[in-house]
Amino acid sequence: MTMVQTSRRLAAVVTTALIFSVAAALGFAADTDTAPKVTIDVSKAGPRTVEAMTEHSILRDYIFAWENLAHTLEANAPDLLNGSFTGASETQLIESVTNQRRSGVSARYLNQSHKVDAVFYAPEGDLIELHDTVQFNLMIVDGNNKIFDQPVEAHYVVLLTPGADRWVVRQLQEVEHF
């Protein structure tokens, strides 16, 4: 192998590595755009006390639900809900996707930051109500045209119920204020 061949091969390896690094970085950046930051306070929930393991599960599943919501409404693909929603909330999101497809619109929920308070935990542990104050950048796009791009602060009343292997969102209802 000549010196020229060696240096060409090295250059190809470096270029490939660079492409992968940039792609990974872009992918990571895209993930961080939609990965919600969530803090939860369960100290005021009652009448049942929220155990530490339950709090951890709720936090994990609620983050997952918002990730799925963001991916679904951006890609207009209801499969991306991944079973995080059920009942009225699932129906509503599927309707959103159907209507967005029809109108050629998609929505992006970027840089989500949630502050969640658990306000009610049922005596038998089969229902928890959360109040979520969330800030995000909402971008609505029609084809290639950005028709809305603003920071939003929203207040959601959320009902979660335990499913087979996770907590699922049964109600996700925005209110003007708590």
């Binding site: 959103s96 967005q100 005596p123 809305f148 209802q173």
Partner: protein, 306 residues
Amino acid sequence: MSWSINTASPSRSRGLLAGAIALCLAGICYAQTPELRAPSTTVAGSSSSISTTGSGSATFYLIGPGVSSKRDVSLGADVQISSSELQNAGRYLAIICAGICHNAQFFVTPAAPASLTFLVHPSRAPVGLNDVLSGVALPFDQFRNLVLQPAPVKFHLTAGSASILSREISTQDGVAWFRTNSGRTAGPLQVNASIEAAAITSSADVSALRIVQQVAADPCNLRIKGERNANGIVVETEPVRDCAGNPVPDGTIVTFTARGSGDGMSTVDAPLKRGIAKAQMTETGAVVVSAASGVVMGNELHLGAQ
């Protein structure tokens, strides 16, 4: 859309025109801006309208929970929003685009309660236990929006003709709940949650009914009797009841234990049939027979050798 430029001084007007063009190029074309005026809130299932200013055509978008519509509209006219587009509670964005996009936001609030989601636990409860029954009621409107306005929910628990509990609790954050003791008598317990029509300016009451089966608690005063027969000893209980006198359900297991004079011991599990458990034991020597069900022990029966 209207333009008005003061043309009193040619040089000044040229400056103003250049400024206006510069502003327009920068995307701030103020005089051409269509404006939207939306209602601040609307009740779910009501129609509404959004007024626009300006002239010409534009594209109107309505984005809300479960809603995403797009249509061409004429500026200066009201945009009618049908009741079917405003069924889900939450924030709605009205966006109008005519070159530049402008938006207005409004909220849809839930309508009056039309149904109650009522979770009651457990489905079977032993009688006479403290705080064993609980119920959670959540009012929803006809579009499945959680009604967050406080509403008085009446919880009424009846066993036969006897009232166990009657309590009115106002919903807080869309939830009303209770916890109470079970009754003293086995049988179906009707658990009713209702909101009176007058309390929610509705034409009909909203209610939900659940049934809890109250069953006898653990056996009380387990008593046995027995006698020898050709095969050994036959032992049986008297009718097994709980401490409130309710017959313990058939199928409940009673364990009979026979201890001989040496180390010998044998046990037989027998289910209750018609309130009585009966077992055949093969011991022939002198034995002491006892019975137990759950944590309750019965009397001892001393039988001599055959």
